[in-house]
């Protein structure tokens, strides 16, 4: 059964920070809360942990309302973005802390602490103080403390945001594996679409305190039903064009006419938003069914394995991804080709329209 939120709302200082959130998180599942800063991820986690109370709605664990149960009586564990450990206790005692409070026997505490320490690679550092180990190791300590408790609900609030690149990749792979075995409801907050995709499981896209869409990560990504959700789940940012369809004619901006191919074919007349991620746009090379736009290269950001090329067109600036180091130079005149069969079309209310919408 797991953890359920029913129409949960939070009003803080007169402002709604969480609006009518309903979620069902199943035991043993990985759930990603994806959204920009201030979208309500941390607040939502604090509600799930019992650190804060909702203004309205109910939170159920295994079907039972947990409103009156204090945090310390709940079976939850939480890892913060900042590395939070007890500075005066050794790494060992930091990890052992929940077990000590539960008054477990010495031998059992030792066994569980060492097992958790082994999982996160902290074994040689158990005698140190948190101030004597690196940031990554401090975060591993916090994670080990969450593991050792064996809680039913585990919350990880951007746990890797302050870590260096290599460590992030490593832990990102390990974390879901470590917690999957425990059968806990795992909730993972992140601002990065890429992280959500790598973690898999389910994703809830958040925007301004609302859950926009919740479902299996891959389907939320590939088949976003709402424009807001696609925006949250795109990095680089989602490219958008406002279009209007009259019969066979599709107009965008003042002068551009687009071909009614792919997704655009068979749309009823009206105004729409055409949305597409950077990976279905390429320079100079048509797709089977393309939407073509002429433009001028503004910037090419080169990250090594791929390049983000920003192209200025009559309809705005769009980003496309090229594999490897792009040859595009600023001020180059280029043709943009958008894969017409993979674009998203949203109606004026921001809901999916077009031929793929009912998949």
């Amino acid at each position: 059964m797991g953890l359920s939120l029913e129409n949960v709302g939070v009003i803080s200082a007169g402002q709604p920070v969480i609006r009518d959130v309903s979620l069902d998180l199943v035991s043993g599942s990985m759930n990603v809360l994806l959204g920009p800063t201030l979208s309500g991820k941390t607040t939502l986690m604090r509600l799930m942990a019992g650190l804060d109370r909702p203004t309205s709605g109910r939170i159920l664990v295994e079907g039972r309302d947990v409103a009156g149960i204090p945090v310390r009586k709940r079976s939850v564990a939480m890892v913060y973005q900042q590395f939070v450990n007890y500075p005066t206790l050794s790494v060992y005692e930091n990890i052992a802390s929940p077990l000590r409070v539960a008054r477990l026997g010495k031998a059992e505490v030792d066994e569980r602490v060492r097992k958790a320490a082994r999982l996160v690679g902290l074994e040689p550092l158990l005698a140190r103080l948190p101030s004597q180990i690196s940031g990554g190791q401090q975060q591993r300590t916090a994670i080990a403390r969450a593991i050792v408790k064996g809680a039913d609900i585990v919350m990880l609030d951007e746990p890797l945001a302050n870590l260096d690149y290599k460590l992030r990749e490593e832990l990102r792979e390990e974390l879901p594996r470590i917690f999957r075995e425990t059968g806990a409801v795992l909730v993972y907050a992140t601002t990065e679409p890429l992280e959500a995709l790598l973690l898999g499981g389910n994703t809830a896209t958040l925007s301004q305190g609302r859950v926009v869409e919740f479902g299996p990560t891959a389907s939320v990504y590939h088949d976003a039903q709402l424009l807001e959700s696609a925006r949250v789940f795109s990095d680089p940012p989602l490219n958008e064009i406002r279009i209007a369809k009259h019969g066979d004619q599709i107009r965008a901006g003042k002068t551009e006419h687009l071909s009614a191919d792919g997704e655009l074919a068979g749309l009823p007349d009206g105004a729409y938003t055409l949305a597409f991620r950077a990976d279905i746009v390429r320079l100079g090379q048509p797709w089977q069914k393309s939407i073509r736009l002429a433009g001028r290269v503004a910037v090419a950001e080169i990250s090594g394995s791929e390049s983000f090329v920003h192209v200025e067109t009559a309809l705005g600036t769009f980003v496309c991804v090229e594999i490897g180091v792009s040859a595009a130079q600023p001020d180059d005149l280029v043709d943009l080709f958008i894969d017409a069969s993979r674009v998203f079309v949203f109606d004026e209310a921001g809901r999916r329209a077009g031929s793929r919408s009912n998949r």
């Binding site: 204090p70 310390r72 009586k73 007890y86 929940p98 539960a102 916090a142 408790k149």
Partner: protein, 268 residues
């Protein structure tokens, strides 16, 4: 190089100015009264520890030191114990009037001790606390509790809330968390606070003298009596002065590291 030599000279001059009165006090305490009144002398011509010996063996002086140390210790203990939960509450919780109450606490410090002398005298007399160490220890709380709350609140604020929350998630009850996790985290602050309470209570004269008469005479009172009864015994007073500095110096020695960190972190 030039600048550093200049700053060194400046520092040495400053230290001399700072240490001169203390040196002079020690100087006087080792002289005889005849030497003191006979003219300027930078060192004792006939050094003697006679006055120290007298003070350390005389029952009145011994009792005076005992009384002073006792009420100072009681006061420091009460102030810190009472202020800790208050400082935590002021920092962590929002309640109606919290900011006003916090400022009001500080405003207690603004009134001179003389204002409180009369009401305390009357009250303690009625309660039978007059002329006991408790009278002075409790009276000094009027100044020391607000001071302690004020200082400690700054240190409490230096501890991230997430630590409190993590402890709650780990299952700690509040008292358990407060003692096992939280107090060690603000140990520096407690050290600094204890030091300030100690020093205030140790040097405070007016309340200490008003609220005692014979059984619980503190050091300042004994000193006053010393020159009232026997005329000006300069070197005896100087020796007593040196001896009163010693407890303070010992306390500073013990909390010196805490104070250095405390000044860097908190509200001192």
């Amino acid at each position: 190089m030039h600048a550093s030599r200049l700053s060194r000279v400046f520092l040495i001059v400053y230290l001399i100015v700072l240490m001169l009165p203390i040196y002079w006090l020690i100087n006087m305490s080792l002289k005889t009264n005849t030497d003191i009144v006979s003219g300027l002398g930078f060192y004792p011509k006939h050094p003697t520890f006679a006055k120290y010996l007298f003070i350390l063996t005389d029952p009145t002086w011994q009792h005076g030191f005992g009384v002073s140390l006792t009420f100072v210790a009681i006061n420091t203990l009460i102030s810190v114990t009472v202020a800790l939960p208050a400082a935590y509450a002021f920092n962590r919780y929002a309640f109606v009037g919290d900011k006003h109450l916090f400022f009001w606490l500080l405003s207690n410090q603004m009134a001179p001790a003389a204002v409180y002398a009369m009401p305390f005298f009357n009250l303690y007399y009625a309660l039978g606390l007059f002329d006991t160490v408790w009278a002075v220890a409790l009276a000094h709380c009027v100044f020391n509790v607000p001071l302690a709350v004020w200082i400690l609140e700054g240190f409490v604020g230096g501890v991230p809330r997430e630590i409190d929350e993590t402890a709650a998630i780990d299952g700690y009850s509040f008292p358990h968390f407060f003692i096992k996790i939280f107090l060690p985290l603000i140990a520096n602050g407690i050290g600094v606070t204890a030091f300030f309470c100690f020093m205030f209570s140790w040097v405070e004269q007016l309340l200490a003298m008003t609220l005692t008469s014979s059984h619980a005479l503190p050091i300042p009172a004994v000193m006053t009596q010393a020159y009232a009864l026997e005329g000006m015994d300069w070197s005896l007073l100087a020796a007593a002065g040196v001896l009163t500095m010693i407890p303070g110096a010992i306390v500073i020695w013990f909390v010196r590291n805490h104070i250095a960190k405390g000044f860097a972190l908190g509200r001192v």
